[in-house]
Subunit: 450 residues, 2 copies
């Protein structure tokens, strides 16, 4: 059995903690049973493992999230398939399926489970997945979905309507799908025994590869990926589930939440405050997540969520926290990430300034993890000054390799080839200056470390 | 006529904007009539000037505030007298008086007005000071005080009780002083025509020098200052006013406020938000001062004051903002200023980190104003890496002087002599590393710029 975990979204609704690369599923705000900080995606994979389902996970994601996935799920040895561009869930699942078929050489009768990476659920959810796998194994249907037992006639979800018959059967054939019905219709559907569509699908690999070959029939995964834009921009529900002739549903009753808004997230936080916070005893129903390296004092507040990061500060009444999105537009589109986890470690922007003469200066603190390296590269629009502040490493500057230690200062001018590898965790203060300071001003070259 | 302006206080009550060196009177949160940002001390001196009283101002202050005073009041050509240690208002006024007598060679009959630097008042206040000066000139009394017409029987103030007689007289002899009475007594005092003590005093210089000579009788100002600890720790009210045989009061009726708490300050702010703030239309009675270089979004909040600086973040219900002080103690005493105005310009701490091996690293952005310089100095516990990011200047390193420009990197090791002077405004990223990073790890030497 193979799992395809879908990781997408840019999550503005949890600003300032989430942003373009730091989507909500990567925020380490939850707590593992061992008391460690845990993100939503780490929680889901831990739960998959605890349910005994951890055989092989392929994460289907965007290129911008690949480094974050590698950092957060590295210990589980997951495979990562990146979409060349964002399309929709059908192309993403098709690409990951092509990877399983053509790179991992899985057989057509291999069972595949597709699931989202961010529902906040409990053990029963994963037992339901196991039942779905069994249903596919026993050929109950070509496609088996998870149906969540509704708690209200919500208009926010898609509904799966089972065929009339034995509602207590573990596997029920599906009659039809209804996407986000009005409340009155939703109430009718509940009376019919309809379930919310949880976005979890089980099928045999051959079932999906035969559909994707209608769009892209290529001998290798690389070629399928290169022709990614030939897949239609359509959801898996519309392209596959609603057209399937043999489709069944297995129901799950229990906790199933999207922690995608501040109001929902604060209900599941392990404590009222995270980070350097003094919350006085007069404060009522106030949650504070302070990711800044500054003390935050909160006195006598009520019904607030306060969140800070290097991207900004939010102070919101909990009842109004959903209004956040419309205000983010006012911040302008030129905002850049102030913190990023990368495959080699992480960086934080600690200062940025633009002078009247057009000169821009950006100062970062980088941490390159032991054994990792920054690729051999050249910048065309900026120079960089690196001050090594802790740890040891190997520097390559214009082809010459040497060791570096704290106190060493390296001046990298425009067009100079450079790379650095950490021997121990390596901390650097980097001062960038130039007329254009963007992450994409970089040309990478191969380098073989001695 | 000479003015002695008292500038003291460390002002925790306006944290995080105020701190040890950035006392409340230096916060540039008000607006001048020309629409420029203005601090409380700048406002008072502007008002003194507008009232035609700007002949000569001597600011009596602590050493830690001297640079700030020089920066903020430099254009007015004020003299600064610094106390070698904090004592109380009598020693501070005595020292400034000794300065007027022995350094400025003022005559004993020169009239001196002592006033605090932070009351938020109107024009009438300064007209009252002019009347006080006239009263001393006409020898109505040795000491003339300003009495503020009370608006309530407050227990927070000292009261001046005039002698029974013509309450409408411009100058009334004083019967007695009552310090912070209980409310019932305060009500009685109001019935007697008592006034609040505004802390403004007028007298002839000789009157006060004759009192101070009882404690320190020395030929030069330098020697008076060197013997500063021989003055008793006592307020001017207790040492001088309450013992004076000939004391009168001139009353002032009008706006007179201490903007020393967030609640009081926000009432006088020129706008609901200062800095990079998005305040949504659902927010009610919310004031935000954001001095951080980060966007702050405020959604649906009520009755809040939010203030941010490099020292920290405050989110407080306005009714509870006075509880701030007790929480500050929890932040610990090892906090250092994260932003300071100095005689040569200003700096901001942009990052600080301590490693497991005891190595500390502090990164600052400095701006040295054109024509100013950092003194020739040596550090014993830290090395510094300077990256010049904008402007031009002259560097001295171990006695050798050379010009510097953007892109230049200077590595200053422990025990190396160094100084830098700005030709144009000079911006530097400074990375300090060492086992002890404190402002006092500095030995200064004389240097004559070529």
């Amino acid at each position: 059995m193979k799992i395809i975990l879908l990781s997408g979204g840019s999550g503005q609704r949890l600003w300032p903690l989430s942003n373009g690369t730091q989507a909500k599923q990567f925020l380490r705000l939850l707590k593992s049973p061992e008391g460690e900080k845990e993100s939503m995606v780490q929680r889901v994979v831990r739960q998959i493992k605890e349910a005994g389902l951890l055989e092989s996970i392929t994460v289907a994601t965007s290129m911008s999230q690949a480094d974050m996935i590698a950092n957060q799920l590295g210990e589980y040895g997951v495979d990562i398939v990146t979409e060349p561009a964002r399309r929709d869930t059908f192309p993403a699942i098709a690409l990951a399926s092509a990877y399983l078929q053509k790179e991992k050489h899985c057989r057509p009768d291999e069972i595949v489970v597709v699931m989202p990476c961010d529902p906040y659920t409990e053990t029963g959810y994963f037992h339901t997945i196991a039942k779905m796998v069994k249903a596919v194994e026993s050929n109950a249907a070509d496609l088996v979905l998870m149906g969540i037992t509704p708690t209200s006639p919500s208009s926010k979800f898609g509904y799966i309507v089972p065929q009339a018959g034995d509602a207590s059967a573990e596997v029920q054939p599906v009659n039809r799908f209804v996407e986000k019905p009005e409340r009155a219709l939703a109430e009718q559907l509940l009376a019919e025994g309809a379930l919310w569509n949880g976005g979890v699908f089980a099928f045999r690999l051959g079932y999906i590869t035969q559909i994707l070959e209608k769009y892209v029939n290529a001998p290798s995964f690389t070629e399928v990926r290169a022709r990614y834009q030939e897949f239609p921009k359509i959801s898996f529900d519309y392209e596959v589930a609603e057209r399937a002739s043999s489709v069944a549903v297995v129901s799950f009753t229990g906790q199933w939440k999207d922690l995608g808004t501040w109001n929902a997230l604060t209900e599941e936080l392990p404590s009222q405050t995270i980070g350097n916070v003094v919350l006085d005893e007069q404060a009522v129903n106030t949650h504070v997540v302070n990711e800044l390296d500054l003390p935050l004092i909160c006195v006598g507040t009520r019904d607030l969520v306060i969140a800070t990061s290097n991207d900004g500060i939010l102070v919101a009444d909990k009842d109004h926290s959903e209004d956040l999105k419309k205000h983010l537009a006012k911040l302008g589109t030129d905002s850049r990430p102030m913190y990023e986890e990368r495959r080699w470690g992480e960086y934080k922007v600690i200062d940025h300034i633009e002078f009247a003469d057009g000169q821009k200066v950006l100062t970062k603190r980088l941490c390159i993890r032991a054994g990792k390296n920054i690729s051999y590269q050249v910048h065309h629009h900026r120079e960089e000054v690196w001050t090594i502040i802790n740890g040891t490493g190997q520097l390559v500057l214009n082809g010459e390799q040497r060791n570096v230690k704290p106190g060493d200062v390296i001046h990298i001018r425009r067009e100079q080839f450079h790379a650095i590898r950490a021997i121990t965790d390596l901390y650097i203060i980097e001062v960038q200056s130039g007329d254009r300071l963007t992450e994409d001003d970089i040309t990478r070259y191969p380098y073989t470390w001695e």
